[in-house]
């Protein structure tokens, strides 16, 4: 099958240190730091109070509206505190629930059954009840994706994992190919799609072989994608597989496609087959800042400090990043828990992140060539400096996918993405024109 190469993109060193490390289960800490708002859209409403005893998998917050999912307790124990804490991803204060583990897991599960027996409506309901969001990092509620208002004929599972360092999706495909494919079938059934593809970057040979073997018996096709950042961007993945452009400001369903991350597919399967709500996820702990890179499955709310302590961090100033190095968010404290969107913890020492002070743009063109969306980042930045937000919008600012390719290649050390994120907020807030 022809794979369509998108224009632009960059080739940062992939540094997949943990590609051969088997997924381990992280041991349970005593305290869990659970943010209530872990999905994009509306945060759920808390239905517990301080001192409430909770069980593993018990619902502690109820979905608030359609674009919202419930939240479940990751552990059996007691809620000891509910407070406001700065959410590192949004940068704003958010409700944080601190749960102390008191005993071994006592489970509250959803009613389960063979994944093939459910009707589309039952699948969507269970996906919602399990609190499932996109595990690639965007945390968009999955049941919304499974309820397209337009005809969808294609499901693409995203196994590109184009972010450098991260390896968890790779390992999931190697170790749980079967569950991922079955999740894909459930997604296709829910949206009424006939075709299922799994897009995997060429540098993951082992995953491709195992997935091909598993998928061939289920009518799922594996697509080998060129290794190029940001191949895993939803729009660019759809283009690679179908040659269709998701229209500016539109959604994948506008071109008849639904995209879900491979780890999300596995979570869907486990919610259907075993009734497990989303209370744990796989993530990669990696980077030059720690001595042992690994892939682990950890409960939501597990403190970053606990995960770092088992990875032997270097004794020097470090940048601890939720996610990968291209789009991840550097945290200001490690005493917060991981969330549904934490696909990795990348720890980088000063020598890796070091870059010089910003200098004048010489229009060297590298950002223009690197932009996978064919924007002109140098021009947008020039307009940003002059606070010409309307003009930025006219130059397609809102189509920026914030992949960071422009800032990665910039010889003048300009932080384009930081500026563009700010500008987007301004444009949305002012809502001009």
């Amino acid at each position: 099958m022809t794979v369509w190469r998108f224009k632009g993109g960059v080739h940062p060193p992939t540094k997949k240190f943990a590609r051969d490390a088997k997924i381990e289960k992280a041991s349970l800490p005593t305290r869990f730091y659970v943010f209530v708002a872990q999905n994009s859209g509306n945060p759920p409403k808390l239905i517990v109070n301080v001192n409430t005893e909770v069980k593993t998998g018990q619902k502690i917050a109820e979905a608030d509206g359609f674009v919202s999912v419930p939240l479940h307790s990751p552990v059996t124990g007691k809620i000891i505190e509910i407070k406001k804490e700065k959410n590192p991803v949004t940068g704003r204060p958010a409700d944080l629930v601190i749960i102390e583990r008191t005993k071994e897991d006592e489970w509250v599960k959803l009613d389960a059954g063979s994944y093939e027996t459910f009707t589309p409506e039952e699948i969507k309901k269970r996906v919602l009840e399990a609190g499932i969001v996109g595990l690639g990092g965007a945390t968009f509620p999955t049941h919304v994706k499974l309820s397209p208002s337009k005809k969808v004929d294609t499901v693409i599972l995203n196994g590109a994992e184009c972010e450098p360092y991260l390896t968890i999706d790779d390992r999931m495909m190697v170790e749980h190919a079967d569950e991922i494919c079955k999740g894909g079938i459930a997604i296709a059934k829910a949206v009424g799609a006939q075709k299922i593809f799994v897009g995997i970057e060429e540098n993951k040979q082992e995953a491709i072989e195992i997935m091909e073997k598993t998928a061939s018996t289920m009518g799922i096709e594996i697509i080998k994608l060129p290794t190029k950042y940001p191949q895993g961007s939803e729009k660019h993945l759809i283009y690679a597989v179908t040659k269709k452009h998701v229209p500016s400001g539109g959604l994948p369903m506008d071109v008849g496609v639904v995209v879900d991350n491979v780890s999300t597919a596995r979570t869907i399967y486990r919610a259907l087959e075993y009734g497990e709500p989303l209370i744990e996820r796989g993530l990669t702990i990696t980077g030059e800042g720690i001595k042992s890179s690994k892939n682990i499955i950890a409960r939501i709310g597990t403190p970053i400090s606990d995960l770092l302590s088992i990875s032997s961090p270097l004794d020097e100033p470090l940048r601890v990043i939720l996610g990968g190095p291209m789009t991840g968010v550097a945290v200001e404290t490690i005493d917060i828990g991981i969330s549904k969107g934490t696909s990795g913890i990348t720890v980088l020492p000063e020598a890796i992140i070091e870059k010089g002070p910003e200098t004048n743009c010489i229009r060297c063109n590298r950002c223009v060539e690197a932009c996978p969306t064919q924007l002109e980042p140098y021009l947008l930045y020039k307009l940003f400096k002059k606070k010409m937000f309307n003009e930025m919008k006219d130059n397609n600012l809102m189509d920026c996918i914030e992949c960071g390719s422009c800032a990665y290649v910039c010889p003048a050390n300009i932080d384009h993405v930081k500026a563009f994120k700010t500008a987007k907020v301004v444009v949305r807030t002012l809502g001009r024109r």
Binding site: S248, V368, D399, Y408
Partner: protein
Amino acid sequence: MKLLTGPAPHIHDNISTRRIMLDVLIALTPAAILAVLMWGWYMLLLEVGSMAFAEFLEFFVMRVFRKKKDFVPDLSAAVTGLLLVFNVPAGISWWTMAVGLVVAVIIGKEIFGGIGNNPFNPALVGRLFMYISFPIAMISWPVVDWLNFGHAAYDLQTTATPLGNAKLHGIVATNQLFHGLGLNSFLGIIPGSAGETSALLLIAGFLYLWWRRIVSYEIPVAYIGTTFVLSAIFWLADPNAYFNPLTAIMVGGLMLGALFMATDPVTSPVTPLGKWAFGIGCGVITVLIRYIGAYPEGVNFAILLMNALVPFINHFTKRRVFGTVKVNG
């Protein structure tokens, strides 16, 4: 544990403006050495002196007038300095050179706000000023005197360049005066400006920059290709009045202009389509000036004129953004 913060992306390609400028200097080095071999030590003095003086001028302006305490030189002024030496006759007097450098760096670049803000190629601004202000010095090209380090370049007998000669005495006389002009101009063994004579070495330098992914091929290909095609039309119409097209693209500083001056990122368009338009425009203007205008060569004017059009070219050659439908206009 001490935590470092900062915006994404957290990793960075190993590139800086200084590194880019250093690569340009490296690419120009072979031609710079050839000039020394052809005209003696004085050329080395001019080249190194000009780079140092240009850097000094920029440093002085930034630190003293613009009060940028943290300004660190990025070698861009040195590139301007070396390119200006390449663009003037070998053996030009040092003070003429110094005046040209002051104009190039200060009028051509700093008054617009320094690197990245100048609309015109600074070296070409400097050259144009010298051409108008010192017309005799700017058309006195010393004869080639291989490996003779005994005397200074400015003592050498001067002669005309092929294009200048052709304008005055016609093409037949020029071809008699310069035997094997096509090949010699490719190798660089003709009288001319210091660094612009050897197409071979300039192409080698350009390929180095291309391999380093610092320049793209569109502008040189469009510029040289357009000049070749238009020259061929003139030549086919009257072979006794015009150079054959191969010679036409070797002489008159076209190679230096197309490979190193027109490709200056600050003063050229950003999209591939824009670069083609820019290169073709340069080629058309160059040929028109050479064959119809009053001046013997047109590279300098052509590039400066096209520099002025860059904002318009950029505006009209935007790419189609992923996921959008092309709007008319």
